[in-house]
């Protein structure tokens, strides 16, 4: 199980029942902890619905009491190819 974290301004950004795009950071131990990925995913407020956990923080870093689960469908490359 992977651990992820997301920053949102509003909990409505975590829409359930559909594919959404988020920038999430890994909380897995190791040198790359806290680095981000842009992903297409599904999330749920039910912690056991998807394999990975998703911790939520608000816009000023406040930790939300709500715990989500997440299924990462694919990585999304936002960066223009000319910069890769």
């Amino acid at each position: 199980m992977n651990k992820w974290e997301v920053f949102v301004m509003d909990m409505s950004e975590l829409a359930e029942g559909k594919d959404i795009e988020l920038s999430i950071r890994t909380l897995n131990a190791g040198l790359h902890k806290y680095t981000y990925k842009r992903v297409k995913c599904q999330v749920s407020a039910k912690q056991d619905k998807f394999p990975d956990s998703l911790q939520v923080r608000m816009g000023r870093g406040q930790l939300s009491a709500s715990k989500y689960s997440i299924k990462v469908l694919e990585e999304v490359q936002r960066m223009p190819e000319k910069y890769l």
Binding site: F7, M9, S23, R25, L31, H32, K33, Y34, T35, Y36, K37, R57, G59, R60, G61, Q62, L63, R78, M79, P80, Y83
Partner: protein
Amino acid sequence: MSKISAPKSNREFIEACVKAGDAVRIKQEVDWENEAGAIVRRACELGAAAPFMEKIKDYPGFSYFGAPLSTYRRMAISLGMDPASSLPEIGKEYLKRTNSEPIAPVLVDRKDAPCKENILMGKDVDLCKLPVPLVHDGDGGRYVGTWHAVVTKHPVRGDVNWGMYRQMMFDSRTMSGAVFPFSDLGKALNEYYLPRGETCPFATAIGLSPLAAMAACAPSPIPEPELVGMLSGEPARLVKCETNDLEVPADAEIIIEGEICPDYKVEEGPFGEYTGYRTSPRDFRVTFRVNCITYRNNATMTISNMGVPQDEGQLLRSFSLGLELEKLLKSQGIPVTGVYMHPRSTHHMMIVGVKPTYSGIAQQIAQLAFGSKLGPWFHMVMVVDDQTDIFNWDEVYHAFCTRCHPVNGIHVYKNTTGTPLYPYATPHERKYSIGSKVLFDCLWPVDWDKINDVPTLVSFKNVYPKDVQEKVMSNWTAYGYPEVK
């Protein structure tokens, strides 16, 4: 000018601080995740010695140096002065050196540049190979740049800019940073690179000599490499980058080279800021793409932990902003006797002492200060007369509470330039860098009769004849009081 003996590198500075009792060597392992940041924060809030953390979890061979310039003692050490020097003495020395002849930097061969001892290029480039700390719990990321210089060059004018723009690690090769539109780099990106769709070369230098960091932080019109020379009394040693034409401090601990992508932004923040809050929202900000990392053997990463006073974000910025504003006002012929920003104001209030020789002098000062390039960084100007000690908050506060007329003495300026970091600003103002300013004019009006209209200050120093003052002071212990130091 007498020979200046200032530390020429971060390493010399650490040694000087340890010797003076202003840094402690921490031998036990420290975690890069929160623990190092918490140590630095606590040291700042206690005004304690700077922590030199010699063993970092997961990163053998690296170390941290925190809170490098968060006290006036360490500022004095950085200038090669007696650590016990007073703030006015340090300010006088800064003005003397920065009003001297510019000293051009020298370019050294890469074999003489310690920052080239290790070089990561191509697929080896990974910011996670550096001990980038999570400075505050809840920050948007691990911050690479908290006490550093982002080096760029204007594409047309060619002038070099070293700026302290905070940089967050987004992924192994990408950093995002807060570059405000009114800053030198912000202007270059918006006016040149963005319209042309070109990338802007940059180099981030970490673990600078304290005077190089001071120059990067100072809002001086003098190019930073020359300013370093003026402050230290000898040329700054620079070396060419590996992947672009920029020149960076040869003795820096870590150099990160790359390109700014002006048309592509990624999330940055939130971050604990110098105001003592997390104010600016998480937002899409400037993207720095990394192409190369070079670093010294046993490199030391510098950490500034911004939060409630006092850290170097407040102390050094207050110091240099105040003195640069003093230079500006004097250049306009205004009879100022001094300018001071108390670090606890988080450099939001400029206190100006002036000889009030003509009407409207306070407004002239405020308009010049607010209208200058430095104006976005503060929003209060308080003007007191030359009899008030601007460094003594008790005197300044007394003048403010007794001489500032609630109607005639307070002047508000609306819709000016601000920063997203102002805690009091509305969300709309933060998003668009809109500010507002206020002047507190604490001068007696010059059209008041000095004998009949201006109140007399009732103090020991002001109302008693000198011989009585001397008699009382010389007999003070004989009266039964302890000696006054």
